[in-house]
Symmetry: C2
Subunit: 565 residues, 2 copies
């Protein structure tokens, strides 16, 4: 009897392999409501698009118009809005690709595109990103293929890559793929850089009759355009995954009563992730890179913030806490940037290579002005050594290579001991990044991306080009829109010349989300008032929530979203 | 208008602080079914307990009987089973404490105890574990207090600590607390060591009229007693949290197509956690410490397993994968233990302190026999250095201080390069531990612990002592039982003498769970057949699943559990 049962269970468990866990099977059936203009008689209907009066233009629009003459002229930098249509295009051939790091909901974008194209049009999947587009590595995606990927995490259905399509030769290869597959449209699912790239390709392909549409993806949340692009997809899922983990660790702190956890979170250019996780969980200290840059804080000022929280909590009998650190934080501290630059110059010197590490530390210290010398000599030995290690073939040390959580732990330890040697301080460190990119999407990301796919697919078969697909009015049913890519692009002066870019959306210090954080953080530092937002729920009374930062910045009445009915 | 809305949302968000997130508010309302014998007319009813014919005895029962004369005599090492009763005890005074690391469901144990005690009896919470018990740091827990902690994670309602109560003086302090609060019973919620400790206290307190009851807790899963204790509480939640994270990372690997993730999972003495996560997710390689020990594998044999998986997957075009590493794995490799022991002896030598690190490496190498020398010289420099660093005041280096995931990464890198220099191998490492101890309990852990609390509370007010509370028959409604603690205890020879212990339950190589793993792992290594079990769901069609290892080892027909109706 027992033997039979075991056998039966073993057989069940084998069936769970290859994305067939009970969870994966169940989520494929979650309902995905659809924006009104895309729905007809319970089925999908391909809308058309109308020009609105809303013009989008970034700084330096003249330069942008020169760089993107075709799409600037075609779009007039005007936003489009989806309107019902009785006639659906047929015979169109569209390709879709992922570009850059994965984000939850990518598969639903593909599913939305495939379904709005319907049986009358053809969709190709491009394997492994922009490089695959240049190679012409495409396969046809059938209508039934999307059933397997619906609501699942990851980008593995297509794969992705970070190649930039930029040279004339690159463009020629893309054109060859367009001609080989007779493409009418290409949809690029990616972040700010990938969407800039999409604009270049759109402009290049315009004379060849193939449109290019972007879809806003990035877990970092730094691709936002006011109410037009309230958030890039993947941010909600990633921050809810990190928030659960951080909430669990917070819950652990007063249980075990002895650790300070220093938690680094993904987000190099902007601190949206750290801010969102902070609002969800209320840890003792959260560093926001943009604030540090704005207030021109020195490293020791930042450390002082952490150390004083440690000391004042200890005075209240609390020897534990959590510090959230955005991945890119030390790149926002001007003196660190200067020190790394100085170390790069120093290491290029003639007599350095043969010197011992102790010799280098001494020589480098002497080469610095007194302010920088104080900074350098105050650093932990491991970081000093890191700064003065032989450079490998990749060239200069980057600020991002400094292990910031270790730096803050060591400096906080030192400072706490100075402030009050009696304080117990047992630090641990974590980095959460990859954990959040490929989880199954939250309900918001699932519905948002499916509708983004519908919009992108409809734009592609309607022959539009040079737009980013958008879903706006996420609290009141949703509206499908198209945002002119050239209108988002500006010129940024970087080392090595000017670059056309979509400006990264940073945490604004006068935004409602930051101001709310600012108004509460002292209370969060003083005592344990944290919360555990728990694992994201796909069923039941929860799971209908947009990110708190997004809701605050949109001026919403609640955290709920409503897309479709 | 916008201003008003923002204000309203801000006010809502402030209300989420201090464990009032929407998730935390909603989970408090989750229904907790109750074993039949504890239910009457829709309310709770305190059962009595009957002696069964089942006797529990570990190896060396004579020695145990001598060490625990009182509880051995009182319990006769016989299992008790709960039976309906019309008369509930009143006027009893019971204290509950957490001992050791937190595990999900601890709060529900307290809730179950409080509710089965009802208005007629008194429950005290002991603050901060065994040390709090010695200090007499107790507070009364009201019936309404449990509403706030129901189904929440963590041990923070009481706090915990790892103090061992062992000396006569310790026992006297416990007795003082018993007398001060006029306690009839003490409930110790803890792992194998804490339950052994509970047995000692039970035996000591027997003449003083205060009973002691244990409750089986530990996320490591190494406190199991066949069908009597199918699993310790907290294991299900911890492994489901780790499985989600590992599943997300697995999902990331074919999306970004470039990393090998080496993931260390909590579990020093046993590999139940790693095995469960492996069954849930199907990674390329999972190390099981017990198998390594049983087969007496050398470090290079273990590395060969990983490296050959890397190379053979690369041959199939797969340059990514996941390796699961139980926290304690290298403590199971005999030659590593021997090397660490040799390094401790070497470092105690006279002339070592003044030698440079390079000198130490050379001297130590020379001091070893040829086999050990090969092992040592084959180690990464960072590990060699670690072995020969000055010992601090804590004394000898412990095997556990060797960073095993780094060791395996470096050795795998080296071996892969030897096997095939053309293979791309980009490793990343993670450690997941604290993330899993304090999450909100799964449905299984929530219901299981609430019922464990009911059983423990009923045993305490019925004046029982020297038992561990148990819930068995978890697939068919549940039965409340009491397992005699002395029957679980055996004598273990350790360095420094004999110790009375509850033997840790290790992964048995002939268990159905391990055999299933063994039968599938080659398929998992060959290609990507992984699954994402997703975040644990508290509502909806899922969330009713026990751990796969538990279901397999119990010979269950399915993963579902049924406790109560």
């Amino acid at each position: 009897m027992t033997m039979t049962n075991e056998k039966a269970l073993v057989d069940q468990l084998i069936l769970f392999e290859s994305h067939q866990s009970p969870f994966e099977c169940a989520i494929r059936g979650i309902e995905l409501p659809v924006i009104a203009e895309f729905e007809h008689d319970g089925g999908l209907s391909c809308p058309d698009f109308e020009i609105t009066n809303r013009v989008v233009e970034a700084d330096g629009a003249d330069l942008t118009r020169d760089a993107f003459p075709n799409i600037s002229r075609l779009t007039g930098n005007q936003v489009l809005t989806a309107v019902r249509s009785d006639v659906a295009p047929i015979g169109k051939r569209v390709a879709v690709l992922f570009s850059g790091g994965p984000a939850a909901g990518g598969h639903n974008v593909v599913a939305g595109i495939r379904r709005i194209l319907g049986a009358g049009n053809t969709l190709f999947g491009v394997k492994a990103g922009p490089l695959g587009l240049m190679k012409g590595d495409c396969f046809e995606i059938g209508l039934s293929d999307v059933d397997a990927i619906l609501n699942t995490g990851g980008f593995d259905f297509l794969g992705s890559d970070r190649t930039k399509i930029k040279t004339a030769d690159d463009m020629a290869r893309v054109l060859a793929t367009v001609q080989k597959f007779k493409l009418d449209g290409i949809i690029v699912v990616g972040g700010d850089d990938s969407n800039t790239n999409a604009a270049f390709i759109a402009d290049f392909l315009a004379p060849h009759g193939c449109g290019v549409i972007g879809v806003p993806k990035t877990i970092d949340g730094d691709l936002q355009v006011g109410d037009l692009v309230p958030i890039s997809f993947g941010f909600d899922t990633a921050t809810k995954i990190y928030s659960e983990i951080v909430g669990n660790i917070l819950q652990d702190t007063p249980s075990s009563r002895k650790y300070w956890h220093f938690i680094k979170l993904m987000g190099r250019s902007a601190s949206h992730v750290a801010l969102e996780v902070a609002l969800q969980t209320h840890p003792a200290v959260t560093l926001i890179s943009e604030e540090i840059a704005d207030k021109k804080l020195s490293l020791s000022q930042v450390v002082e913030q952490i150390a004083s929280a440690v000391v004042s909590r200890a005075a209240n009998g609390i020897n534990h806490g959590v510090v959230l650190i955005p991945e890119g934080v030390i790149e926002f501290i001007p003196e660190i940037k200067a020190l790394v630059r100085a170390s790069n110059e120093f290491m290029a010197g003639d007599d350095v290579a043969t010197a011992s590490m102790a010799g280098r530390v001494e020589m480098f210290g002497k080469s610095l002005n007194s302010e920088m010398k104080t900074l350098f000599t105050g650093l932990p030995e491991s970081i000093q050594t890191k700064l003065l290690m032989d450079r490998d073939s990749h060239g200069n040390l980057q600020v991002s290579q400094i292990p910031s959580e270790e730096l803050f732990i060591e400096l906080t330890e030192k400072r706490v001991a100075e402030l009050d040697p009696g304080v117990k301080f047992a630090p641990l460190n974590h980095f959460f990044g990859y954990e959040g990119r490929c989880g199954a999407p939250t309900r918001f990301d699932a519905v948002y991306t499916y509708n983004l796919g519908l919009v992108a697919g409809a734009l592609a078969v309607r022959g539009k080009s040079g737009y980013m697909a958008g879903v706006t009015a996420i609290g009141s049913g949703g509206k499908g829109i198209a945002i002119p890519l050239a209108g988002l692009i500006t010129t940024e002066r970087r080392s090595g010349g000017d670059h056309m870019v979509i400006k990264k959306a940073l945490v604004e210090l006068d935004s409602p989300a930051f101001k709310f954080f600012e108004s509460r953080r002292e209370a969060w530092a003083r005592s344990d008032v944290f919360s555990s937002p728990g694992p994201r729920q796909l069923w039941g009374p929860l799971g209908n929530q947009v990110p708190m930062t997004v809701a605050l910045n949109l001026g919403s009445e609640s955290l709920s979203f409503l897309i479709g009915k």
